[in-house]
Every structure is written in C-alpha cells, then in structure tokens.
C-alpha cells in the first residue's frame, strides 16, 4: 500500500517537473523577446498618459534640404511624386512675409490636433485620434468621402487616386481612402522616433524634436518651457501637437 503511494507521489512529482520544464521552454523566449522588444503588446492600447508631439525649429531647417520628405516616403511607401493627385504626407513649405520679405522654411505635416476638425467631420469615425494624441485614419471604415480633406486647416491629407503596389506591410494604404502623416506610429510603438525626425537628426540639422509633451522630463517638454513656440492657425483653438519655433 505504502509502496504504491510512494510511486504515485513520484509520478506526480515527475509530472510537475515535466510541466514546469515545458512551461519554461514555452514562456521563456516570449518573456525574453518581450524584454528585448520593449514595445507594447497589440492588446495594450495607447495611453492618454502620453501625448506625442513635435517641435520644429525653423531657424535650423535648411533651404533646399528635403531629407525629412524623402525619409517619410521611404518609410511609408509613398512614390515621392509631386503631381496634383499624388500623396504627400510631409512637404517643405516656404513662407515669405508680405511686408518685410523675411522668409521661413519649414516642414508641414499633420499637426495631430487635440481637437482635430478631420475627426469631427468624419461620418463613419474612420478619422480618429488615439489616446496618445496621434491622429490616424482607420483604413477599414474610410469610405473615401474626402470631407476630412475639406475640413483640415493644414491641407495635410491626401486621397489615394490609383491602385498601389509594393506597399510597406507595416503601413497599409489603399486606393479610394484618405491618408496622412501617422507620426510613423509603427515606429513610435517600438519606442523609435518618426522617420523624418531621424533623417533630420542624421543630416546634422537637428531641426525636429519628437517626444512626449506630457512628460516634464522629456527633451521636447523641456525645450517648450524655454523657447517661444507657435501653433499654426492658433486662432482655431485646435491645440496642435506640432509646434514651430523661430516664426
């Protein structure tokens, strides 16, 4: 009787050992990769604790430099063509004061407003703002009505006029839908900076700074406490996530 008890207990021990080993083998790499990747799981949504923003120093933005535009096109699979029907998520804008003639050079992109007019007017809710302030288009429910393009004060949105090939799998785009700068959300979710910012830094101009506006320790939050920044069309009260200095 006691022998059979002992053998039963041993079997149970073996079973538990084997189970622990299998579980370890199964979960271990996952935990390891999670640690390496440092990114949020797809189930974990964006958090309103953060608000992503960008500070653009127009005094450092070089005339003729198009690196941010090229990097955006490469990252997001845009053709780079500049016809009237081609998509442009970011563009270099030259502004010249009508009286003094002073000129500024700056990249113009989706301003990721806190109160975005594109989101307000979208009939289906395809235009939406993530909890962390990034304004996106849900490609599954965009019907291509283009009302958001009528509403955007920055002409930041483009309509895909023709069928697309060779897309970046991380950045799905589609004929008949509206699209715009996503702050390279696929990179941001991996704790990287948008491609335009990376390219601007690599070129040595350092005109673009990206970070969490809500984090007082972030570079962007510190910079915005020390310099005067401008919101484009501040009169509209949209509280843009992209700010400019030097204008």
């Amino acid at each position: 009787m006691s022998e059979s008890m002992n053998s039963k207990l041993e079997n149970r021990r073996d079973f538990l050992k084997a189970s622990a080993l299998v579980a370890g083998v199964a979960v271990g790499p996952g935990v390891l990769f999670y640690g390496i990747a440092h990114s949020r799981s797809p189930e974990e949504g964006a958090s309103s604790k953060q608000r992503w923003g960008m500070l653009i120093d127009t005094t450092k933005c070089a005339v003729g430099c198009n690196d941010c535009v090229t990097a955006c096109n490469t990252e997001n699979g845009l053709s780079g063509k500049t016809g009237e029907q081609d998509s442009q998520w970011i563009r270099k804008l030259n502004i010249k004061h009508l009286q003094t003639g002073v000129e500024h050079n700056l990249p113009m992109l989706c301003q990721h407003c806190e109160n975005p007019p594109c989101v307000d007017v979208c009939p289906t809710g395809a235009s939406m703002k993530r909890a962390d302030g990034i304004v996106l288009v849900d490609r599954h429910i965009c019907i291509g009505c283009r009302y958001c393009m009528m509403a955007c004060p920055y002409k930041a949105r483009s309509f895909v006029h023709e069928p697309l090939t060779d897309q970046n799998p991380e950045v799905p785009r589609g004929k008949g839908c509206v699209e715009s700068c996503t702050f390279c959300v696929q990179r941001v979710d991996r704790d990287e900076t948008p491609a335009c910012v990376e390219a601007c830094t690599a070129s040595g101009h350092q005109a673009m700074l990206f970070g969490d506006l809500n984090n007082p320790e972030s570079d962007i939050a510190k910079a915005m406490k020390t310099v005067a920044t401008t919101e484009v069309r501040a009169d509209l009260g949209l509280n843009t996530g992209v700010r400019y200095q030097g204008i």
Binding site: T82, E84, Q85, D86, S87, Q88, R91, K92, L93, N94, I95, K96, H97, L98, Q99, H104, M108, P117, V119, D120, V121, C122, P123, T124, G125, A126, I141, C142, I143, G144, C145, R146, Y147, M149, M150, A151, C152, P153, Y154, K155, R157, S158, F159, V160, H161, E162, P163, K175, G176, C177, V178, V232, R233, L236, I247
Partner: protein, 404 residues
C-alpha cells in the same frame, strides 16, 4: 368614363413616347454606370479631382439635386401645412419629385465615393458629431416620412394622418436643408465657407431650385396631356418663384457683404467677385444674372401672366443658375488656397498659396449627369403607372372629355 380620361400616360395610350423617354434616360444611365465601373477600377486618377479640389462636378450636381429635393416638397407643404387648395392639388407630384430628385442626388454622391463598396459601413458606423453622418439620418428619414406622406394622399383610410405627417415632413425638410448647408458652414478653416448663413441660405436656395424643378416637370406633364395651365395657377406659381429667387439673391448679397466687412476675408471676396476667372464669370453671369435677375425680369414682364412658356424659361434659368451657384460654392471655395500663415506668401510642392486648377474629365461628367437620369427615369415610370397629375388638371381633362 374613367377609361376615357387621360389621367396618366398609360391611360393616354402614348406608349411610343414613353418608351422613347425611357430609352433616352436609360442610355444616359448606362453611360453613368460605365463611368462608375471605369473609375472604380482605375481610381479617381481618371477624374479632374485632385488633392486640392477634392469635390468636383459630381458633387455640384449631387448637392444641387439634394437641395432641390427638399425644396420641391414645398408645394405639398404649402397645401397641407398652410391649407392652400391650389398647392394641395399638386401635393402628390411634389412629394413624388422630392423622392425621385433625392434618389438622383444621393446616387451620384455614393457612386463618387472612394470606396462605394463600403456603403454599408456608412450606414452602420455613425460619428454623431459629424454633420455628414447626421445628413445620412436626415436623408433616410426623408425617404420614410415623404413616402408615408405620399401614402396619406393616395389612401383614403390614411387621410386623418395627412396633416400631421405633412407637418412632420415640412419640419424634417427644413432640418435636412439646414444640415446640407451646414456641411459647408461647419468648415472652419476655409475662407469660402465657415458661415452660419449657409444653413438658412441653402433653405432659401432649395425653395427656388425645388419650385423651378416642379414647374418644369409640371409643364412637361401638361404638354404631354395637351392641356393649358390655368391662368390663376400660373400667376401664383410665378409670383412664388419670383419671391424665392429674390430671397436667394438677398441671402447671397448678405453673405458677401458680411465677408467684405471682415478684413481677413477681403482676399477671398476679391478672388470670387473680381479676379477668379471662371468662378467670377459663373458667379455674376450664372448665379446672379441667369439664375437671378433674368428670371425676375421674365416673370415680371408684361406677357408672363398669359404665357406659360415664359414661366418655364424662367424656371429653367433658375436651374441653370443653381448649378452655377453650386459650382462657385463647391469648386470655387476649394480653388482659393488655404491661408495657414496670414500675412505671408506660401509656396510648396503641394500647391500651397496658389489658386488650384480644376477641369473635369469626361468620366466625371458622365457620372455627374447620372443623378438627373435617375430622377428622370423614376419620375417617368411613376407618372405613367400612378396618378400624379395635379387634381385641377384632371378636372380640366374631365370637362374636356365631357364636352366631346
């Protein structure tokens, strides 16, 4: 006796003409569907629309029809809400046209979507802050309410409901046109829009365009049945059209005078009223002259009281002027560049700071006229199979038959 009276085309036995009209409308519709499938396959790259002019000719025709649809119901509303017998006699035709014209307008809007295959998404996902989403509810409600309204006119058992549903339809149509005007009124960033005036102005426009459409269809039906319009009816309709056209001109004047008072709007007003090329020409020549002053001149000319043709020409001019107005409002409003940095001249690879060019392609034209074809086809079939002739015209025909 009923067999001898020509109440509708079927009873008149004029089948050849009916099939001819149907073929004509069908051919235009075939062109529209071809254009739709072509654009669905190749994308909007085959249109003249761009990332600068995002709404083009299809929207001009579609919004005109939608605005006219709510306005054409006015004839029925004056009859049931305000109890005027002359209009009550025309209520059925008015309600029918409201339904058919709205069908035409919405058909074009849907066919021009980037993803028309996702119409079901538009019907199931609603962002209630969007005036566009609210419009979809208003359009669907309009079909239901006006459909019921028409039933109360046709079924004696439902007669007690005629007045309350008529009142509901009247209020609903005012809300609908308010919402249509607000599509433009709520665009905060563009100099050409962003005015609360758009809501009441579109209501007034709808009165004029809707009545003009009604007069044209009624004239065609009278001609078809070989009867003359009664002088008293003619007189009432022409005075009503004159009132609406004058009110439309008044609202247009107030909108631009308001803008001219605001320094920030001067550039836009200068563009539209003086330097805008095709838009300036269409504003003064199309909207104001052809669609405003000329119809008024014709209506008040000495012969107008006796000549139905003059009222018909005036109504056609109002319709032409209405399309010019929509072109100026929709395309002209987008052609003027966004002013992101007031006081600065802007330039970029994305056409900032320049007046945007637009020339519609043949595919767009074919798509745009599909709304008129849809309206035409449904109306032609409906007036053949059911009785939509104004009641006083039926009496007129009855007395004629009696004399013979």
């Amino acid at each position: 006796m009923a067999n001898n009276i020509c109440l509708n085309q079927k009873e008149c036995g004029k089948s050849t003409g009916f099939w001819l009209l149907l073929t004509l409308g069908g051919l235009v519709m075939l062109g529209t569907l071809s254009a739709f499938f072509f654009l669905e396959h190749h994308g909007h790259i085959k249109t003249g629309m761009t990332n600068q002019i995002v709404w083009g000719l299809p929207h001009v025709f579609a919004v005109f029809l939608i605005v006219a649809a709510s306005g054409v119901l006015n004839v029925a509303s004056i009859g049931s809400v305000f109890g005027k017998m002359m209009y009550k006699a025309r209520a059925r035709l008015s309600a029918l046209l409201a339904l058919t014209i709205l069908s035409g307008g919405l058909a074009v809007l849907v066919l021009d979507l980037g993803r028309p295959d996702r119409l079901i998404v538009a019907m199931t996902y609603y962002n209630f802050k969007s005036i566009f989403a609210l419009n979809m509810i208003f359009y669907n409600g309009f079909f239901a309410i006006v459909g019921l309204y028409l039933l109360t006119m046709m079924d004696r058992k439902l007669k007690p409901w005629y007045k309350p549903i008529g009142m509901l339809a009247f209020l609903w149509r005012l809300a609908l046109t308010t919402a249509t005007g607000s599509i433009f009124g709520f665009l905060v960033a563009r100099a050409g829009y962003n005015s609360a005036l758009y809501a009441p102005m579109f209501i007034i426009y709808s009165f004029a365009y809707g009545l003009a459409c009604f007069i044209v269809v009624q004239a065609a039906m009278y001609k078809w049945n070989d009867i003359e319009i009664d002088e008293a009816v003619l007189c009432r309709l022409k005075n009503l059209l004159a009132t609406f056209v004058a009110a439309a001109l008044y609202f247009t004047a107030v909108l631009h005078l308001t803008n001219m008072y605001f320094a920030k709007q001067w550039d836009f007003e200068r563009f539209l009223l003086s330097d805008g090329g095709i838009y300036t020409l269409l504003f003064w020549g199309g909207q104001v002259m052809l669609g405003g002053f000329l119809p008024l001149f014709l209506i008040f000319s000495p012969g107008a009281r006796k000549q139905p043709a003059i009222l018909l020409i005036a109504a056609l001019l109002v319709i032409i002027g209405g399309h010019a107005q929509m072109y100026v409002t929709i395309v002209g409003g987008q052609a003027f560049p966004l002013d992101m940095f007031p006081g600065y001249a802007e330039s970029s690879s994305f056409f900032d700071g320049v007046v945007h060019a637009y020339s519609p392609s043949i595919w767009e034209v074919m798509l745009a006229v599909g709304g008129i074809a849809t309206t035409f086809l449904i109306t032609t079939v409906a007036v053949r199979v059911l009785k939509f002739l104004p009641e006083d015209a039926i009496k007129d025909i009855s007395s004629k038959v009696g004399q013979h």
